[in-house]
C-alpha cells in the first residue's frame, strides 16, 4: 500500500499538529467523508455536506456531543434484554449490529467496537448472552473515559473472568491467563514484562471469581502475601496491579499505537518516535481516551495521504457504513450470519487477540463475499432505503436528482469512496446502467469496486 507523504511519519510534531493550524487545511467533501468513515462508519450525503458547511472544529464538536446522546438506549434496551435471555449470543450480535445501523451516536458504537476488539471476549466460551451484554454496556460506558477505570472494570467483568479462566484463579493454584493478557494484549505489549511479573500479577487477581453471574471477591482464595513485579513490591490486589501496569512507560505507547492503527492506518510502521506525542498526551491526561481520540481526529496526519484511503474496511464497517450511507435497514439477523462468513461476527472474536484487521480482511474468498453481500443487501426484500426503495432514495437526494449519469457516479464516488475513482472505472459504471433508472445495478457495481473496500 502506498502511503504517500511518508515524510509525516518521520516528523511526529508536524504529523500530530492540529490540522487547522497547518498551512492550508482543506475540509471539503473528501475530508469530511473520511472523518465520518473513520469515526462513525461513514456519513450520509447530508451529514457530509453539513460537516463541510460547518467546518472541522464544529463537526468534531458535534461528533463528541454524540457521546451524551442516549436516545438509542431507550429504543434498544428492552430488545437487548429479550435477545440475551438464553446462552446463545448470536441474536445479541445481531442486536448490536442493528444498534450500529440505527443509532444517532455511531461514533460511540465505533469506539465501543474498538474496545471489543481490544478486550476481545468470545461469546462461544462465555456461553452467557447476558454477561456478554453487560460487557458490551461496560465498554460503551467507558468508551471515551479514562483507560484505568476501564481496565479495572473489565478485570472484574463476568464475561472476561470466564473467557480468561480467572474464576479459577486461586492462591493455591494461580491461573496466569488474565495476568499475561493484561500485559501482553491489554496494556503493555510483548517485551515489556517478564514471566515472573506474570506469575506475581496472577497472584494479585487470586480470589476474583463469579458467584450467581456476578463478580465476587473471595477473600479465602486470595493470596494476601507480598507480590513483587515491575519493580515494586507489596500486598497488592488486582486493582493495584492494574494501576502499577499502567504506570509503565510502555503503557501509553501501546494504547496510542492501537488507537492510531484503528483510526489512522493499518499497515504503516509505527515507530516509538512517531507515536510519542500521542503517548505523551495519554500520560498527561491520565489516559483520557476522549481527549486522545480528539487529538488523532483533528491531527494533520489524519487528513494526510498517510491516513486517507489507507485502511481496509472490516466486514462490520463495510456493511454498517453501506447501510448508513443509504439510510437503509435490512434483516440484521441474516446480515450477522453473512458478516460472520466474512470473518467478523461481533461478540465472537477468533481469539483473545481479537481480529487482526488490515490486509487480513481481504482474500480471494472474502473479496467476492463482500461484493455479493452488498449486492444481496440491495436486493433483499427486507431492505428499505429511508423507508422506501433505492430509486426513491436516489430521487430524494438533492445532490443526485436530475443529474446526468456521469455526474451521479462522480458525486456518489466522492461521498462513498475513500479514493478517487479513475475515469475509466467511472465510465464503465456509467456504461453498465443509468444510475437514476437502475440505481441497484450502479450501486452494486460501485460497492464491488476495490476502492469501496478502503476506509
Amino acid at each position: 500500500m502506498n502511503h504517500g507523504n511518508l515524510d509525516l511519519l518521520n516528523q511526529p510534531d508536524l504529523a500530530w499538529k492540529p490540522y487547522l493550524e497547518t498551512k492550508q487545511p482543506d475540509f471539503g467533501i473528501r475530508q469530511a467523508a473520511h472523518l465520518f468513515r473513520r469515526a462513525a462508519f461513514g456519513g450520509t450525503i447530508d451529514e457530509i455536506d453539513n460537516a463541510v458547511a460547518k467546518g472541522l472544529e464544529s463537526t468534531i464538536n458535534d461528533l463528541f456531543a454524540q457521546i451524551e446522546d442516549d436516545s438509542i438506549d431507550k429504543e434498544m434496551e428492552t430488545a437487548a434484554r429479550l435477545v440475551s435471555g438464553s446462552a446463545d449470543a448470536r441474536q445479541l450480535a445481531a442486536w448490536w449490529l442493528l444498534r450500529m445501523v440505527r443509532t444517532n451516536s455511531p461514533f460511540v458504537e465505533k469506539v465501543t467496537l474498538f474496545w471489543h476488539g481490544h478486550f476481545a471476549t468470545g461469546a462461544e466460551k462465555v456461553n452467557n448472552a447476558r454477561a456478554m451484554f453487560r460487557q458490551n454496556q461496560l465498554l460503551r460506558k467507558h468508551a471515551f473515559g479514562k483507560f484505568e477505570p476501564l481496565v479495572k472494570d473489565i478485570s472484574s467483568d463476568v464475561a472476561m473472568l470466564v473467557y480468561l479462566d480467572s474464576e479459577e484463579n486461586r492462591r493455591t493454584r494461580p491461573n496466569e491467563n488474565y495476568a499475561r493478557e493484561l500485559m501482553e494484549l491489554f496494556c503493555l505489549g510483548p517485551g515489556n514484562y517478564s514471566e515472573e511479573d506474570i506469575k506475581e500479577i496472577a497472584r494479585c487477581f487470586t480470589g476474583w471469581t463469579i458467584r450467581k453471574n456476578q463478580f465476587r471477591f473471595n477473600e479465602h482464595h486470595h493470596d494476601k502475601n507480598t507480590k513483587a513485579f515491575l519493580g515494586v513490591s507489596g500486598n497488592y490486589d488486582g486493582n493495584d496491579a492494574v494501576s502499577i501496569v499502567l504506570k509503565q512507560p510502555a503503557a501509553p505507547r501501546f494504547i496510542a499505537k492501537k488507537l492510531i492503527r484503528y483510526f489512522v492506518a493499518d499497515e504503516i510502521e509505527l515507530t516509538d518516535r512517531f507515536v510519542q506525542p500521542v503517548a505523551d498526551r495519554l500520560r498527561e491526561t491520565d489516559f483520557d481516551i476522549r481527549d486522545t481520540i480528539r487529538m488523532i481526529l483533528t491531527s494533520h496526519v489524519f487528513y494526510s495521504p498517510v491516513a486517507m484511503g489507507h485502511k481496509i474496511k472490516s466486514p462490520v464497517e463495510l456493511t454498517v457504513g453501506f447501510l448508513r450511507f443509504f439510510e437503509a435497514t435490512t434483516n440484521v439477523t441474516l446480515l450477522t450470519n453473512r458478516i460472520a462468513d466474512l470473518g467478523q461476527l461481533p461478540l465472537y472474536p477468533p481469539n483473545v487477540k481479537g481480529w487482526n484487521g488490515g490486509k487480513t480482511w481481504i482474500n480471494a474468498s472474502t473479496i467476492l463475499g463482500r461484493a455479493n453481500l452488498t449486492a444481496d443487501i440491495l436486493r433483499h426484500n427486507k431492505t428499505k432505503f429511508a423507508d422506501g426503495s433505492l430509486k426513491q432514495w436516489f430521487n430524494s437526494q438533492a445532490r443526485l436528482r436530475g443529474q446526468s449519469s456521469e455526474a451521479i457516479v462522480e458525486t456518489m464516488a466522492s461521498y462513498l469512496l475513500a479514493t478517487k475513482l479513475s475515469e475509466s472505472t467511472a465510465e464503465s459504471i456509467v456504461g453498465l446502467a443509468n444510475p437514476a433508472d437502475q440505481p441497484l445495478e450502479s450501486v452494486s457495481a460501485m460497492a464491488a469496486l476495490p476502492e469501496f473496500q478502503l476506509n
Binding site: 429504543e75 429479550l82 438464553s86 446462552a87 442493528l98 458467584r211 450467581k212
Partner: protein
Amino acid sequence: MSQYFRFKENSTPSHPLRPSRPRAGKTLLKFVALGIITTLLAQPALAQQNQQSDAADYFPDSTAIYVHVRKPGELVDRIENHSAVKRAMELPQAQEFFESPQFAMAQIAQKLLEGQLEEPILETIKENTAKGMWIGFDTETNGVMLVFRADDEDRLKRVAGQLLKFIGTAAQQQGNNVEIKKREYRDAVAAKVGDALIARYKDWFLVSNKPDFAKSFVDNLIDKTDDTLANQTWFQEQLTNRTNADVWATIDLETARSLSKNEELFSGKTNNPGAELILGGIFDLLKNSPSVTAELNLKQDIELTVRAPFDQDWMNESREYFYGDKISGRAPLSLLPKNTIANLTSYRDVGLWWLSKEELYAENVIAQLAQTDSQLSTIFSGMDFGQDVLGSLQPGVQIVVTENAYQGENVPDVKVPAFALVGKLKDPDKLQRKLKIAFQSVIGFANINLGMNGQPQLDVETEKIDGTKLTTASYFIEEGTEEGLLLFNFAPTIAFAGEDLVISSNRELAVELATLLKQQSGNPTEAANTKMMLDGKMLHQILQDNIESLIAQNMLEEGNDRDAASAEIQLLLSIVKLFRDAKAEYKVEPEQMKLDVQIRINE
C-alpha cells in the same frame, strides 16, 4: 362486427384435434371398470352439464388441473360483507393504508378503468362471471387459462373491448413494451397481449399464457368435440364426488407424476424423519392415487375438504406405524385442558416407526438415526431408545400445548407455552420405574451442563396426586439469580397414571392431563387418523404475552425501529384476533383419504 380491428390470420382451425392422450398404464383395472360405469351413469348428467356449459366440456383432454368457482359474484359479495373483512377494514393500519399515496394511485387506476368500462369494477366481475369461472392447466402446452362465462353476451362484448383498450392505453402511458395484436380466430375475437392471449367467443371469455391452449378451448367450443376433459375417465370419476362447493378443484395426479421434476414428492418416500412421521401415509397416496379433489366453501367460516382415492394395496408395509393394522389406526381422543392453544392427536406407533427406519429412509438418514439411537440410549441409562423407550408405548400419541403457568417471581421474559406428550404404556408395571430412572438420568445430564455454565440447576421431586405418580424437575432459584431467563419456562415432569404416560414441560400441565385421562373410560379414540386444533383466542393471548419479544424479533429481522416494529406486531395481533379456531382431520378409509380443514372466524 366486433369493435376490434379484425384481420384474417391463418383461418385453418387447429382441429382435427389432437388424439386423446394415452394414459399412463398404472391405473388399476378397478378404476377402469369404475370409470366405465361412472361414464355410463354420468352421461345424462354430462348432457345436462353441456346445457349448463361447464368449461370441462371444452378444456382439452390434456388438462390436468381443473378449478371451478361456481358463483364468483356471490363469493365476492360474501367476502366483501364478511364480518372479518369489515373489521379488518376498520383497523388503524387499514385506515392508514386507505390514506396512503399508493392507495390513492390504485383508486385513480380503478376510476380510470371503471370510466372505460362504464360501470363499477365489482359489478363487471359479478355480471360477466354470472355463469361461472374456471381455471385450467394444460400439460401439452404447459398453459394456464382463466375462463369465465357471462349471462349477457352483448355486455361481455362491450366490456372485453373496453378492457383491451384500457390495457393498451395503460401500457402506452407507462411506456411498457406490451405489444397488443388483435386477432380473429374462427368465430372468436382475440387479442394477443405480450405472450398472453385474450379471447371472447359468444358469452365466453378466456385469458391464457399459451395461445394454443386457448385455441384448443375455442375449437372445442365451436366443434363440440369429444376430446375434452369432461370425457376423461379420471375426471368423470371425480365428478361423482362433486358438490356445490364455492370452489371445486381436481388434479390428475397420474399426469402430475409423469411431468413433475420433483422426484422425491412422488417417490412414496421422504428422507426427512419429521415429515415421514407426520405425513408418511400421504407419500403413498402421492405415489399411487390417480387424482385428488378439493372443495372450498367460504361462508362465515372457511371449509376445505381434500379427497383422494386410496387402496390398501398401495400402502408401504413399513408404514403400518402410520395407518395401523388394516388401516384401522385411530387417533387418541383429544385432550383439551384449560387454556389449550393447540392439540395434535394422531395414530402413530412410534416404536414401530423407529424400528422401520431401515425400510423408510436412505442410508445416510439411517446412519444418522442409528447415531441418535446410540446417544439417546446412553442418556436413557442404557435402555435401547427404539425398542425399550419408544417401543414401550402403545400406538397413538398426542401433543398438547397450553398457556404456561408461572409461579412466584421467576417469570421469563420470553414466555414459551407449556407443552406435553401423552401416550400409553404397553406394560406399565414393568416400564414406569425404568422410565422414571431414565428421566432422572436425563435431568442428571442436564444438571452437569447447567452447573458447568453457572446456570440454576434442576431439583427432582416425586409426589403422588390422586393415584398419579409425578416426578418433577424444577429449577432451584437462589436469590441473585439472573431475572427473566428462558429456562424459567420449564419444570420438566413425567407422570404415570396406570398405563397413561405424560411427559410435560411443566408440572401443572402434567397434573391436569393426568386428571383428564382418568376421567376417560377405556381408550376412546377419534374417528380420524390424525386430528389437530388451534385456538385463536389463546394464540392471541400467547402473542400478546410475548409482545415485547416479538417487537425485538421484528426489529432484528425487518430492520425496523421500535415504533414501526410495534405497529407491525399490533397488526399481526389484530389479524389473529379475527380468527376463532382452526381444526383439521385426516381420515384414512378403505377407498379414500380425506382431509377436512375448518377455519372459524370470529363473528
